[in-house]
Amino acid sequence: MILDLAVQAAQMLLVLALAPLLTGFVRKVKARLLLRQGPPLFQPYRDLLRLLRKEVVLAENASWLFRTIPYLIFAATWVAASLVPTFANGLIFSWSADLIAIVALLGTARFFLALGGLDIGTSFGGIGSSREVMIASLAEPAMLMIVFTLALVAGSTQLSTMASFLASGEEGLRVSLGMAAIALIIVAIAENARIPVDNPATHLELTMVHEAMVLEYSGRHLALVDLSAELKLLLYVSLIACLFLPWGIATPDAGARALVIGVTAYVVKLAAAGFLLAIFETSIAKMRVFRVPDFLGVALMLGLLATLLMFVSRSH
């Protein structure tokens, strides 16, 4: 019990501690691929600390909701991120929210972020919010279809059960799982505002989505919004890792050695994912906004097809 609680607490702090590092790593690799020196690996931590210490400059007509939203987004994202297995499976609180609820928690965070974009009443905020909900209106059903597929494979919507089932290798290779994996990667790219859907490094461009929504945030509020975005990236990478690359993940009753292996494997997986993301982002151009629905439509169709195959092939 105590050990379980410790693992859960370690997991909560680990995701918080590692999230900026992953973002920093992706930025660094991208810079090196473009033959630039790039910011130091730990720059995101410095940015966060600097922002936290700065005063907030709030627009004159900002409401109480605008000031509350960063905390709400952070809370929802952090709770969701701490329920995804990272280095160890069978987290003690995993029964409190299954994968559907985790997706919905991210939905809650996005709902408030989009409201934050509308609060000041500027055109940039509006453009960001309206595009964000358009992207979400396709990404979220695609994600739920992926959840359906996995739930039918594993016979459970509990993420821990799914992860240990897939780790056990009982299922072997399935077409549905392959389609779900591709769809999940597409959704992850869209949800985290990465190229080709959105550009995380942009400012003052009519194509931006996420950055346009958070344009009016400053100081500690911006720090929380940025940290939530970094947490979300880590969450999706952890999710892909624990479902489709479940090697090395520690089982619930494993000893210290398994935990060490789990942590090492997790860090290696994060680095690999960050590296691949950077390569992908540098090798592709950003899409026009109205090409994004086609891109996400692929994910939705793959998810639906995968679910349909599971419905047809399975009857228990």
Partner: protein, 669 residues
Amino acid sequence: MTLTIILLCAAAFLIISALSLALHTSALGRILVYGGSLTVSAVGLAAGLAELLGQGPAEALTLPLGLPWLGAHFRIDALSAFFLVVVNLGAAAASLYALGFGRHEHSPQRVLPFYPLFLAGMTLVVVADDAFTFLFTWEFMSLSSWALVMAHDRVSENLRAGYVYLVMASFGTLTLLLAFGLLAGPEGAYAFGAIRDSHPSSALATLVLILVLIGTGSKAGLVPLHAWLPLAHPAAPSHVSALLSGVMTKVAVYAFVRIVFDLLGEPVWWWSMLVLVLAGITCVMGVLYALMQHDLKRLLAYHTVENIGIIFIGLGLALAFQAYGMAWASALAFTAALLHVFNHSLFKSLLFLGSGAVLTATGERDMEHLGGLIHRMPLTAFTFLVGCVAISALPPLNGFVSEWLTFQAILLSPQLPAWGLKFIVPAVGALLALSAALAAACFVKAFGVTFLGRPRTEAAARARETDRFSLTAMFALAALCLLAGILPGYFIDALAPVAQSMVGGSMPLQRDVPYLSIVPIAEARSSYNGLLVFLFMLFSATAAVLVIHRFASNRLRRGPAWDCGYPDPSPATQYTASSFAQPIRRVFGTLVFRAREQVEMPPPGDAAPARLTVRLSDIIWDTLYEPVARAVDYAAGWLNPLQSLSIRHYLGLVFAAVVGLLLVLAISP
């Protein structure tokens, strides 16, 4: 005992209505009607709760009213008790709200007498136990609500709304009349008890199902029978809109459940396909229509259509499971549907009451003329936000729980052997997921454009917070939304007797699950704990606030908005409801609404403004209603000469009709 109380409540509503005729001009009339209705519906709520939670045996009572050889049968069982709770809870909230809101009514004599009649009608429908009483009270409910829809008859679009509503309501009652006629058979066994024992043949039952789906679906707002709903619901005063959308559509769901699950006997598997396909289309069409609106109340009304779709998905799945004798799975889907009935009655009432507060404060329903109301009406804004989060099915509020249960039911359906269902159910699941995501978009728009940003008109800039009665009602509903979201287990347990009596099974008792989680099937399969999620979020947010304010910075300075350095002082540069929906209109609307955008740019040098025209066409109205309306018009024109015949011709027609009927009798076996 409970039944007697409920019937006395209905009688009390009628008396209040009669008394209000004498008092309608004074403030006393308002206090009598709404205060009286509040008291009576509180009694009805308590009686319904006692019956539902006490799990007493069903009670029946026959009054010497109605048809002389039949009498008026009334009966209360778990299903009736649950719907009594929904009806009376909604009625109590709306009445409390109207104690303050009714002050702004400019023609109270058009509202006050009909309001208690409407409540009486809804209360009686759910306890009626024979076809005659049921249809009588159903029509009573329709007509009294029609009178309320027509309360503001100076507005021309309300006249059209009232007309369409009347036509659709009569059509719905007609199909129900035929359905009961088929069920009662040639002997005219109209009592529900007799119908229950009659076991109609499968072909007859199918015909009844289709008629009932049309009759109750037109009242509930199933696509394509929804056309009247977004016209009529917003036309009524806001507290009545809350009842129409939050409660009366649920009475239609009651009628569907009562007839299909209770009276019709064993379902055939493909009935569920019919229900599921209609429900899935209803979900997505409802929310897409809602997204295209910029009238706040009409947006809410269209969104009711979506939620009815979600409820019917649950009911369709329950039918499918029942057809294959999987009572436990059927109970899960059925409970999900009923829980959504309850949840939707809470948050839709809340949102309509909020829109009423906005309407009173600004005189505007059009979101394009609102904005920034969160500064002037912070409490209304807060409750409206709670309603928006709940209806968007976001944790930790209640809308999520019932959608989550529906998803769990969908995940059980690969066990259904029928191939048709194997293809339909995943598609319906995808439609449900799509509509959930679009609902969130819709309510970001509704809240963001109405309450956030800068005021777009003087009226919005000068808005005042609404009165205490209204706020109390809205806060009570918001608190219930939270309560049902974090402690869903108790609400699910309360529905167990209903599921037991309708589908012959119930979900496992949730109060035995540790830590107040809900576990629909088995813990290894799925579980959700709203309380823990809520506490975790509360803890994380509080910890973040405390740590940051203690160790980092809590300084704050107000300055002009940044907006990339080019802030424009005109509120017209903000995103509006239409521009917010533009990306979604481009993605989905070109297909569904044949949306066309046309930009007219003046030639260079010309100072005329550029114009963007958006054209949307309502595909269902154009392809279904327009041809029918034209056909009726044509037939009416063609039959018109029959009105001015001589007496000889009329007698000839009567004679021909008698001969025709006799011939039919002679030929038919």
